[in-house]
């Protein structure tokens, strides 16, 4: 139980850190830093033209969001699958050990 609460705090902290800015600056658009980066490059070096284009450009914000969400979904799927497997394995071993102890006593 103690352990669970620590993890809940960790998760809560991450949620607060990412949600607080959204609540503080409601309605304001959060610009991605790489696009601001480009603006900064153009300020420092106004004549610069990118010499290579992305191979595949996501068609608009919706498609890009979909692709990012897919990436996150795949990643968290794998992470949770493996953690779940580990958890099941550990619990099974604990149960086996408990059975062994009871058998020893008898």
């Amino acid at each position: 139980m103690q352990k669970l609460s620590i993890n809940a705090w960790l998760l809560g902290g991450a949620v607060i850190l990412s949600m607080a800015p959204v609540l503080i600056y409601q309605g304001k658009e959060f610009k991605a830093t790489d696009s601001i980066n480009i603006t900064a490059i153009e300020e420092v070096n106004p004549g610069y033209k990118p010499w290579f284009e992305p191979v595949i450009k996501p068609s608009g914000g919706e498609v890009e969001t979909f692709l990012f969400a897919t990436q996150a979904a795949i990643g968290s799927g794998v992470v949770c699958y493996i953690l779940g497997l580990y958890k099941g394995r550990t619990e099974r071993r604990k149960a086996d050990e408990a059975v062994a102890i009871i058998k020893d006593r008898n």
Partner: protein
């Protein structure tokens, strides 16, 4: 006993400083950095970073090969480390100053498998994003891999090992992944400043410009990354003891931070 008392005091103090600076710094100004966009590095620099990154990638492949040959049972954990980077770099998290950026998630894998293994993992994530998401780029892949998949993990490795020695393993995990995140973006700023020195003031002026507000964006994200890495670490301590023991990373419950943090 006194040791424990003081670390608690210190933790509270840190939390207060953190919270107040979070609120003070949180003024809405745009920020710089994250990965360098496609075509936005001059050709010679693009090649330079590619050449610098490739040896690390190859060493990383060898390192992964060795790990999986010596301990095939660790493949699952390796997949977990890779997937963790995959999730975290997909999360564009809004930050205090009204811009958004994403964590990198290479800290966990570095602590588990060492920095070289992560040069491959991080490189693959960047490749995926460059090709399919037009995020980062192929020409800038060398530079982005150098910051996220090479320097970041190196920093995490050094920080973790320096602190873990003292027995505070969880603190080490948190700080390693947090500083790894910050340094990744610091290197990006250096790379941009090198490629685009300001007309007046040269490298330093440009560096200050690029690093300027990005650091602010990245600080809360770095803390988030530290928290999430520690979360997964805690689960691994509970359920992945077998693997952590193979890697020599499992510390018994009576370690120092088990008292202060748990």
């Amino acid at each position: 006993m006194t040791n424990k008392y003081w670390s608690k005091k210190f933790a509270t103090l840190l939390a207060m400083i953190g919270l107040s600076s979070y609120l003070v710094i949180g003024s809405p100004t745009p920020a710089h950095a994250m990965h360098i966009a496609e075509g936005y590095l001059p050709v010679q620099w693009a090649i330079f970073w590619w050449v610098l990154a490739i040896p690390f990638f190859l060493l990383g492949l060898r390192s992964i090969d060795r790990i999986t040959k010596a301990h095939p049972e660790l493949k699952m954990l390796l997949a977990l480390a890779g997937a963790f980077t995959f999730v975290l770099s997909a999360l564009k998290i809004p930050s205090v100053n009204g811009s958004s950026s994403h964590p990198t998630g290479t800290g966990l894998g570095t602590i588990l498998f060492g920095p070289l293994a992560m040069s491959v993992m991080g490189g693959l994530v960047l490749l995926f994003q460059a090709i399919l998401l037009a995020h980062g780029g192929l020409t800038t892949l060398g530079a982005n891999a150098f910051s996220m998949a090479i320097v970041g993990p190196m920093v995490a490795y050094v920080v973790y090992n320096a602190i873990a020695k003292t027995g505070y393993q969880k603190t080490a995990v948190f700080l390693a992944s947090m500083l790894e995140d910050l340094c990744t973006y610091l290197v990006t700023a250096i790379q941009l400043a090198l490629a685009f020195p300001a007309a007046q003031g040269g490298f330093m002026a440009a560096f200050i410009k690029f690093v300027g507000v990005f650091a602010v964006t990245q600080i809360p994200l770095a803390i988030s990354e530290g928290l999430l890495t520690l979360l997964v670490w805690n689960w691994l301590q509970d359920y992945g003891q077998q693997e952590l023991k193979i890697l020599g990373l499992f510390q018994e419950k009576n370690n120092l931070d088990a008292e202060t943090i748990n």
